[in-house]
Symmetry: C2
């Protein structure tokens, strides 16, 4: 690094896309300068409108995102997209296909698209994605869209970190009742039934609305928007509903609650990451670690007792009563 | 609880299936008595042969498991199955359909099938699954099979916790090169190409073998077994290869390495869970936590600085140099 991190941040702030891209990469890689970067960028963020777009594979999330980008670019807004790719070993991470989309907007400096794959530790993807959104926010993007396939805990974590959650479904998906049961009703702020020209669209909308009556008896009632993103239909209405939700967030206090929860996540992510590093150093520096594990393996020592020993060695006052169990 | 945990463990040890089922549930729910249960069961475990069976949806993992159960039951071995269900909000957890399979073996006391769904915190599924396998081991099951769909980090964690990893593919899956690239070659000890009567089976086997030459130049070379589990074909051969791998584990020292890694995981899982609980208590007991988060949100405080404060308050000596960053 010949340039200082301060200069780097200044370049990001002034709209240097290469500096921005490199910052996200360094944070994703957990490079040494990442913490300093995030620290300096942190006070610059907080102005962007963060939108999560999730749904099963094949509902047309990419088309929806593309159309939203076009709409927002037409209004002169800068748009950042973070596509979360769970990189299942069985899909090879080809779920989102953002390389194709990159090309569409490659010449527009007001659009930044980045896909985040699984690297490193459990939870690393969610953390890196949230950091990337924060960086785009700090870099002056007006709207930051997190697009996820919605198959894992990491992605739910990401979805919890946005202002407005849009859940995309399609009539072709078959029986939606099942998926609606499993927690999606609770996290969605807006539903969009894409590919609404396919048979069954009306039935899908009705199913969603029926279940919404049960889940949201008061407060914000998530609207259900019909769209056909491939032809651009319904996307303007979708965005109107998003802005209506943003207004609701402001007026109801829910927006503040979400923002604080997001900061809490950011703080606790850092706490756990540092702790994890400390534990790794501890075990790496233990002269008889393997012997100790052998005793555990042979049933001569209890895993709980060893865990307690580690916590004590690290200075954490332990003991069942204080620190709880499991 | 009218009965003591000691009595409970005694009942599990003596083959009481209801006591066993309840123990797994309590551990999954992180009930107060779970730690004590696991502590008492721990020295009883360590004899079972732990097998992981993973692969994408639709390759016939359930049929393979069923046929393995029948084969092993014919040899008089007790078999435990833990089916890991990622419970995606978009599938509602219906991926494995073990209720149907339960019925098949419901009258056989030598078979115990249990599916684990996502509950609670990130990482909770993997932890609960590993604990369930340990409990089945302690309860005297000779072979414990962990069946996973292989789509998430939790499942990779589980797979890392077994003796032998079987990866199931089917010719119908299309292009396997992609998935083989993504880390599957590295974790598989045995490949089984199921539905080998479908066209393309030979090509699939060849693709796998070609890639294996690159990934495993020495040591254990994962065999590729063709099977048609629905008709029972190939399952006996599959099991022979599993036993051959078990022998390799014994002779090469790799088995010991895996067992120690498994115990390390168990210990560190407990360390992190306790730490997490301690952090939750700390934030819950902080008189100005929300105010502090507000300052973070407004950019007046840095998340890193707050993280440091928490770690210090918990007694962890922090400071960048010692505890690393990010």
């Amino acid at each position: 690094m010949s340039q200082s991190v301060e200069q780097w941040v200044e370049r990001i702030r002034s709209g240097d896309v290469r500096a921005l891209a490199r910052a996200i990469t360094r944070v994703e890689d957990e490079a040494p300068e990442a913490a300093e970067l995030l620290r300096l960028l942190h006070p610059l963020a907080g102005r962007a409108y963060l939108v999560g777009l999730t749904g099963p594979p094949g509902v047309g999330k990419s088309s929806l995102t593309d159309r939203l980008i076009r709409l927002l670019r037409g209004q002169g807004q800068k748009v950042g997209v973070v596509a979360v790719d769970p990189t299942s070993p069985f899909t090879g991470g080809a779920l989102l296909g953002d390389r194709v989309r990159m090309a569409d907007h490659a010449l527009d400096p007001g659009v930044f698209i980045r896909s985040m794959g699984t690297r490193g530790q459990l939870g690393g993807l969610a953390r890196a994605t949230k950091d990337a959104m924060r960086i785009l926010d700090a870099a002056g993007y007006d709207v930051v869209i997190a697009e996820t396939v919605g198959v894992g805990q990491s992605e739910l974590d990401v979805i919890h970190a946005v202002d407005t959650v849009i859940v995309a479904l399609s009539p072709a998906g078959g029986d939606h009742v099942q998926m609606l049961k499993a927690g999606i009703m609770e996290i969605a702020d807006i539903f969009v039934v894409n590919k609404a020209d396919l048979p069954g669209a009306g039935r899908t909308v009705q199913q969603i609305q029926k279940m919404l009556e049960l889940v949201h008896p008061e407060g914000w009632r998530p609207p259900v928007v019909e769209a056909a993103a491939a032809e651009g239909r319904g996307v303007e209405l979708l965005w109107q509903e998003a802005l209506r939700h943003r207004e609701y967030l402001r007026e109801s206090g829910e927006g503040r609650r979400r923002r604080l929860r997001r900061q809490e996540d950011a703080v606790l992510d850092r706490v756990f990451a540092r702790f994890q590093a400390a534990v790794q150093r501890w075990t790496a520096g233990h002269p008889d670690w393997e012997e100790l594990l052998t005793e555990v393996e042979q049933g001569r020592r209890d895993p709980d007792a060893v865990a307690e020993e580690i916590l004590r060695s690290l200075g954490l006052s332990s003991g069942k009563a204080e620190s709880g169990m499991l």
